[in-house]
């Protein structure tokens, strides 16, 4: 590093004296751009634009296989479509404006014998380029918001309730069981055997099921009502393949509704990658091992899913009896605290 800097400085000093010498020789005594500078740099501008735009197109094509595969959720398919429309629109604007910008710099380079056009304004033009972007943007907003409303509202309440719970630096998932209701939980009840702080006195907790390994399963084609929560700092539950994420905030439940459409097995085929797995990543800086906070997500056919769920333990079964009593008594003392 030091050496690079040193070398760089040396090179610069050399260049410096060369350039000064050159300008002295050519009888040019000011550091103001001369004809030669204008033409060299404006050619540079055009080259930069042409090569730059070409490289952008090239990269976009070349990196396609690295991008996320097809969206594996109902809303994800629609938002991907929207994203592509947006890219098309901004891509067109991008090309037009960048080309004009760099081309004008080349085309209108300085000429002593010419005057620029004195053209301070033109209200009609200004009106046009205020109104046209407004219309285009309105169209984008309307389609975007329609999608947003669809995915955040108006879905049936019967989605399967699943809790995703973040803590430094891992994830847990809890399934609500046959009653489709999560039992109450309270952070002061957290213990080694009750990592979610579940209040066992709540009948709704009796059938709750917790994943035992660092893996959660989801049934394909079943609407899921996610409830997110955190124990310590803010995390963010990011499911890149389902095109969604939601912050996990201590002291507050956040929710998201979605439906997976492609099983893990099918996705292995689509991506031609035997090792493919869905993943849940933490996407909000949460501490030194933030980058390592993940959970494997497996999407099953509904029947496989129920089989898997049967093999997982009820939370209440995991608790030793002594602790169970302790829990219930603490829960009753704090219950009015919770109610607050």
């Amino acid at each position: 590093m030091m050496i690079t800097i040193l070398l760089g400085t040396l090179v610069v000093i050399r260049l410096m004296s060369v350039s000064q010498m050159a300008s002295v020789l050519s009888g040019e005594d000011e550091d103001v751009a001369q004809k030669r500078d204008n033409s060299m740099n404006s050619i540079g501008m055009v080259l930069f634009m042409v090569i730059g735009l070409a490289l952008m197109v090239y990269m976009t094509i070349k990196y396609q296989p690295f991008m996320l595969p097809v969206a594996a959720s109902v809303h994800g398919v629609e938002t991907d479509f929207l994203l592509n429309i947006n890219f098309a629109v901004i891509g067109i604007v991008f090309f037009i404006t960048q080309i004009m910008l760099f081309w004008f710099v080349y085309k209108y380079q300085h000429d002593k014998n010419r005057r620029a056009l004195f053209y301070p304004d033109n209200h009609k033009l200004e009106l046009i380029w205020t109104v046209v972007p407004t219309i285009v943007l309105s169209a984008l907003i309307v389609t975007g918001l329609r999608e947003w409303n669809k995915m955040t509202q108006g879905h049936p309440d019967d989605g399967m309730v699943v809790q995703v719970y973040g803590y430094q630096f891992n994830w847990m998932a809890r399934y609500s069981g046959p009653d489709n209701k999560l039992g109450r939980s309270y952070y002061k009840l957290i213990s080694d055997t009750n990592p979610l702080g579940i209040d066992y006195s709540d009948p709704a907790s009796k059938d709750d099921i917790m994943t035992k390994s660092n893996e959660m399963h989801l049934p394909k084609g079943v609407p899921i009502q996610f409830v997110f929560n955190s124990r310590d700092v803010i995390h963010s539950a990011y499911f890149p393949h389902f095109r969604t994420q939601m912050n996990c905030v201590p002291g507050m439940d956040t929710r998201f509704y979605m439906e997976a459409t492609i099983t893990t097995k099918e996705m292995k085929g689509i991506t031609k990658n035997e090792k493919f797995d869905y993943v849940l990543l933490c996407n909000k800086i949460c501490g030194v091992a933030h980058y390592n906070m993940k959970m494997t997500v497996v999407v099953d056919e509904p029947s496989e899913f129920s089989n898997w769920l049967k093999g997982e333990k009820k939370v209440i079964d995991a608790a030793p009896t002594a602790e169970l009593e302790q829990n219930i008594s603490t829960a009753s003392t704090v219950s009015h605290e919770v109610a607050l």
């Binding site: 610069v12 410096m16 404006t97 710099v105 300085h110 301070p120 972007p133 975007g144 995915m151 702080g197």
Partner: protein
């Protein structure tokens, strides 16, 4: 002719008041080294102090980014020099994962606040407001001096926080609680975070002192004839920026203060129901999301506090070097005002995935996309200014054009991020990193470079070497696009930001080549800045002597003598007779008519609307 006396109250304390009573003389009073270079109240000197401090801080922050780019591109290599450089954080040549976050945090904070807010506004508002409105100095030289010294103290505290045992603040430049509130959560949230907060409060004091001064100067100290609609766009930009800062920075103080209470006095503004380090905490009833609302109430205006001065500088440079009036002067002012207003009501676009009410989210989508309209107008106006122009490509002009290019690229991806339905997938990924580095970081830095190259003659009375300027520009623009453009792809591949390594998911393995490419560009870009630093410091002492008006510009600063005098103009302050953009006026003798030339002297070129 009206002569305004606006010398500095602060100075008068140190010197004989009579010294300053008459501005009509070039007063060469005896200043000591201390009053001239250190506790100076002269806006030109303070401007240079801001600039040099910002350059030093920028090199520091850039050095940090090079270290973490090494980690991202070559996660399996060891770099023995790291251990000698950063000691225990680089043990055996491996960067520590906690220190990675510390570097990211301090890098972001320094770049956003010290370089692009303090450095940019501090340098150019100070240099140009008095010189371009025709004032002898800032409204209050004393406050101005304090503004710099609070800034310096703030920078020093931030720098000092790098050397403490537990490491500096590491919760990201937005320092969201609870992470930033609990030392149990991350070591940097101990003393490091305290120092971060102290530094920020000092910084805000500096920004407010400066801002009040800028506003007062623009409102009160304009020379005769300098109506608001004859102000150069630079001054308009600085004025609006200062107002934005005055309105939004206090909210950050409030946010920081509540955080201090939560950290040290057991209050629960931002904390609730936390179980950490195997114990439940007593905090209850607070909301971490409250902090985010407060933070982004500053945070979004902040991005315009960074950007508007850069756009102002670019407007001036582009018009001057294109030898053509800026297209749509009034529309430029109007769009800045609209942007400034809207910037207070878009903060929610940083919070679409915090569980905010979806309807509220929709409102923020709407306001966010509204901001894109005045932004688009500005871009079109720049392009229209170049159309049929007569463009002189000075290094400053190249950087100004680079700014417009970045503003387009980054502004367009903002449209995607502003769409909540799309943002839930892209939020906090590298796509966002690409977006704001291009639109805010690179645009503003390019604006700053344009400003330095263009006004260096006015600052130091010498020219910067143009060939080195060109070299610097070309390497920098290629590398900046090379660094930030590919990040869009990494973001679209689903990689979260602030990851020390992309090992969590095997799908990310294939991105390593892109990361290497980025890091190579980043390192070249970093080294290229040495060219700039060399040119800058070398030219201060050895550059060619600057002529009075090297770019044939219209604005007032070029009528002041090259050798700095206290009070800017040795004689009376010049009077202004026209707007600043009479370039290439038909039938005029030359292709520029300075603001000081009355219409009575230019009958050949006057137009019907001119009076």
């Amino acid at each position: 002719m009206e002569v305004r006396d606006n010398t500095h109250s602060g100075h008068a304390v140190a010197h004989d008041v009579h010294d300053h009573g008459h501005d009509d003389h070039h007063h060469d009073h005896h200043q000591t080294f201390i009053t001239k270079y250190i506790f100076s109240t002269d806006h030109k000197m303070i401007s240079k102090q801001f600039l040099v401090t910002a350059i030093l801080m920028a090199f520091l922050a850039m050095g940090m980014s090079m270290i973490f780019r090494l980690q991202l591109a070559w996660p399996d290599e060891t770099f023995p020099f790291l251990e000698s450089m950063i000691g225990k954080w680089g043990k055996d040549g491996k960067l520590d994962s906690g220190f990675y976050l510390a570097l990211v945090t301090i890098h972001g904070t320094i770049m956003v606040f010290m370089v692009l807010t303090g450095g940019l506004s501090g340098t150019f508002s100070n240099l140009l407001i008095p010189l371009q409105v025709g004032a002898r100095d800032m409204a209050s030289g004393m406050l101005n001096m304090l503004s710099f010294w609070f800034f310096a103290a703030s920078s020093l505290v931030m720098f000092g926080s790098l050397f403490i045992e537990a490491g500096p603040a590491s919760g990201g430049w937005t320092v969201y609680p609870p992470l930033s509130a609990l030392p149990q959560a991350i070591p940097g949230s101990g003393l490091g975070m305290t120092l971060w907060l102290v530094s920020m409060v000092l910084f805000i004091v500096s920004a407010l002192l400066g801002g009040i001064n800028y506003v007062a100067t623009v409102i009160n100290l304009r020379t005769k004839g300098m109506s608001m609609t004859r102000l150069p766009l630079t001054v308009w930009a600085f004025l609006i920026t200062a107002i934005l800062g005055i309105l939004s920075f206090p909210v950050l103080v409030a946010a920081a203060l509540l955080l201090v209470f939560d950290r040290s006095m057991g209050t629960s503004f931002y904390l609730s129901d936390i179980f950490i380090g195997n114990v439940p905490l007593d905090h209850t009833g607070g909301s971490p999301i409250l902090y985010q609302h407060l933070f982004w109430f500053l945070g979004h205006p902040e991005v315009y506090i960074v950007l508007l001065p850069a756009l102002g500088l670019a407007s001036e440079v582009i018009s001057t070097m294109a030898r053509k009036p800026i297209f749509g002067y009034k529309a430029m002012i109007g769009s800045m005002l609209v942007i400034a207003f809207l910037s207070f009501i878009v903060l929610g676009h940083h919070m679409f995935v915090t569980g905010m009410n979806p309807f509220l989210g929709s409102v923020f989508v709407f306001t966010t996309l509204l901001v894109a309209i005045p932004s688009a107008v500005k871009v079109f106006n720049y392009i229209a200014t170049l159309w049929k122009a007569n463009i002189v490509l000075s290094p400053a002009m190249l950087f100004a054009i680079g700014l417009v290019s970045f503003f387009i690229t980054g502004g367009l991806t903002g449209i995607i991020l502003g769409d909540s339905a799309l943002d839930i997938n892209l939020h906090d990924t590298y796509f966002v990193v690409a977006h704001f580095h291009i639109v805010m970081g690179s645009s503003a830095i390019f604006g700053m470079f344009a400003g330095v190259y263009h006004w260096f003659p006015r600052m130091y009375g010498r020219m910067m070497n143009k060939s080195l300027g060109y070299l610097h520009f070309w390497i920098t623009i290629i590398c900046v696009y090379g660094v930030f453009f590919p990040m869009h792809f990494i973001g679209l591949a689903g990689v979260p930001r602030r990851y020390y390594a992309n090992t969590a998911y095997e799908g990310f393995d294939q991105l390593i080549n892109i990361n290497e490419l980025i890091s190579v560009f980043a390192i070249i870009a970093g080294v290229a800045q040495v060219i700039f630093a060399f040119n800058f410091f070398y030219s201060i002492y050895r550059g060619r002597k600057a002529p009075q008006n090297p770019w044939n510009s219209n604005t007032l600063e070029w009528t002041a003598p090259v050798e700095h005098v206290h009070g800017n103009w040795p004689g009376p302050i010049p009077e202004v007779h026209r707007w600043p953009y009479d370039y290439s006026k038909p039938n005029a003798k030359e292709d520029f008519i300075p603001q000081t030339v009355p219409y009575s002297q230019t009958p050949e070129s006057n137009r019907p609307g001119d009076f």
